[in-house]
């Protein structure tokens, strides 16, 4: 019960701060919607397909790339960096708050934002007559794994490479944007050359995108050999990101204690 109260307190506080700032929340809503609309219309026009088909192709990549990536990964980095910069982390270290609760609290806050973005993006897609033919359960699971992976990776990157709030933009742009492009978040991967596709195999965003697209939007079974590859990679990345994030987080706590 202690962990639950602490986790919800941390999550509620982060959400409250985001609501107060508003700007981040508004941008996290506008950006994926605009990317979805642009991608949808470009795909429809370029491939001479219906809007529903085009938006069906564009929705998973928009969700994984333009929505969850910037909020869950970028947001986590911002939260950690600002907490370190304002030294409020030290006050948390003095309190009885457990490390697990703090970690889970951040996951909870960005999980809520991620779920909100998913509903928003899917609502826009539904407006263009996109039908979700696949498994809701597996689709939801992929989205949750994606959110948790991004939050874990946010801890890893934020603690190791961003000391100040100004560093966040550079980090997200320098690491994030090439990963997103190579993951098919902005351009469908079928436009990629063989060599580029080979490199994309090592990109978690590519597998998140392909897994979500295949299972939720193309009604592929999770037993499908192609889907299994994506799901295995996604689960592997989830484990690495969460474990790596946790270990880096422990390291940060020790550093902050000695300041």
């Amino acid at each position: 019960m202690k962990y639950w109260y602490e986790t919800t307190a941390v999550g509620r506080r982060i959400l409250l701060e985001l609501v107060r700032h508003r700007r981040s929340l508004i941008l996290w809503a506008i950006f994926p919607i605009s990317i979805l609309l642009l991608n949808g219309f470009i795909l429809a026009e370029g491939n001479k397909i219906s809007l529903a088909e085009a938006f069906k192709l564009a929705t998973p990549s928009t969700l994984v790339g333009s929505a969850l990536f910037f909020s869950c990964l970028g947001g986590t980095i911002s939260t950690i960096v600002s907490e370190r910069e304002s030294h409020t982390l030290k006050r948390l270290l003095i309190s009885p708050l457990s490390g697990i609760s703090y970690y889970l609290g951040i996951l909870l806050a960005y999980g809520c934002i991620g779920v909100g973005q998913t509903i928003l993006v899917c609502s826009v897609a539904a407006f263009f007559k996109v039908t979700f033919t696949g498994s809701f359960f597996f689709g939801g699971l992929i989205i949750l794994l994606t959110i948790a992976s991004y939050v874990g990776a946010g801890f890893l990157l934020g603690i190791n490479f961003a000391r100040r709030v100004e560093d966040v933009n550079g980090l997200v742009a320098g690491v994030g944007v090439p990963m997103l492009i190579l993951g098919g978040a902005f351009f469908p991967t079928r436009f990629f050359s063989k060599e580029l596709l080979l490199i994309a195999q090592f990109n978690p965003v590519y597998h998140m995108n392909e897994a979500l697209s295949g299972i939720s939007f193309q009604a592929k079974d999770w037993h499908d050999p192609e889907m299994l590859i994506h799901l295995r990679f996604l689960v592997g990345f989830f484990v690495v990101a969460i474990a790596g994030g946790w270990l880096t987080y422990r390291k940060m706590l020790n550093q902050e204690k000695s300041l």
């Binding site: 109260y5 307190a9 107060r20 030294h87 409020t88 003095i94 309190s95 009885p96 204690k257």
Partner: protein, 299 residues
């Protein structure tokens, strides 16, 4: 309430705390003084379990420090560690949740703390819009939210204007009147003089002198302090030595310890042959004791 025995801590080649012993009784305000680097922050970090000591014991309310004693301590760091975009009440609510306060108790404590620091009318104000003094009071309210038995105030008035400083002093006095045990670190000796029942001076990792202000005054064999400015310092010192006055230099001031009380006229007559620019007699103050203890090799 707080018992520290034989506490030592070394950082690489520097012995920061050296067999430090400290005892604070319940309801007492203990002023911990010391120059920068004397080990005050290290001591607070050990009490709060942010770092471990190499040796020694710390007990709070007769319990050795552990994860369980965290809720016995309230600490107001010298920086205002607050969430700037939240309101005063939201900041308190968040920290109350971390200390395990639930619903009705939480509401009651938030109300009590805001009232205690005289911020009830600013409960819904965003912290970023508060003045420095108000933010510092909120910083203290957060330290009080879980009703700690020991309150640690780390330089509570550093960086505040005089008006805000008086507000904080009044608040500390109110807490003292309610029986709160407080460990206060400060560089403002006037603050320690006003507020503390017991004062300890930390030097080279240990408390070298300790006691009430009166007890500390007895360390200096003087009834009063004579402060003089003159171009003929050597002549003044020679006269003072003939009178068995102890001579000290505090910056550009020449200071003599007077073994017995003298009127200003008597002093002027005594130094009649010296061209005096300014002269003043004052009682022995904590400042004199502090300078003597921290600069003298006898301690």
């Amino acid at each position: 309430m707080l018992k520290i025995a034989q506490l030592s801590k070394r950082f690489s080649d520097r012995q920061v705390l050296n067999q430090l012993c400290l005892h604070i009784s319940a309801g007492e305000i203990y002023g911990l003084l010391g120059p920068n680097g004397a080990g005050k922050t290290t001591l607070i970090n050990i009490i709060c379990r942010l770092i471990n000591s190499d040796q020694g014991t710390v007990e709070i309310d007769s319990q050795p420090i552990s994860a369980n004693t965290r809720s016995l301590i309230g600490i107001a760091p010298q920086e205002n560690l607050l969430y700037q975009s939240l309101t005063c009440a939201e900041n308190l609510d968040f920290f109350a949740s971390l200390y395990g306060l639930r619903k009705a108790e939480k509401i009651r404590q938030i109300d009590y703390c805001l009232h205690s620091v005289n911020l009830q009318s600013r409960a819904d104000s965003i912290v970023a819009n508060l003045s420095g003094g108000m933010a510092r009071r909120l910083n203290m309210a957060i330290a009080l939210i879980h009703q700690p038995k020991l309150l640690i105030l780390d330089e509570p008035t550093t960086g505040l204007d005089i008006e805000a400083r008086y507000e904080i002093w009044e608040l500390i006095q109110q807490l003292r009147d309610r029986g709160m045990t407080i460990l206060l670190t400060t560089h403002l000796l006037e603050e320690a003089e006003r507020l503390c029942q017991k004062i300890g001076i930390l030097k080279n990792g240990k408390i070298v002198v300790e006691g009430s202000l009166e007890q500390l005054r007895s360390l200096i064999p003087a009834k009063e302090i004579l402060i003089m400015r003159t171009r003929e310092e050597d002549l003044a010192i020679a006269i003072a030595k003939k009178q068995n006055f102890i001579v000290r230099n505090y910056g550009s001031d020449l200071v003599f310890w007077l073994p017995e009380q003298k009127s200003l006229q008597e002093v002027i007559n005594l130094f009649a042959s010296v061209p005096i620019d300014s002269v003043a007699i004052q009682p022995v103050r904590l400042e004199n004791i502090y300078v003597e203890v921290t600069t003298s090799s006898d301690y």
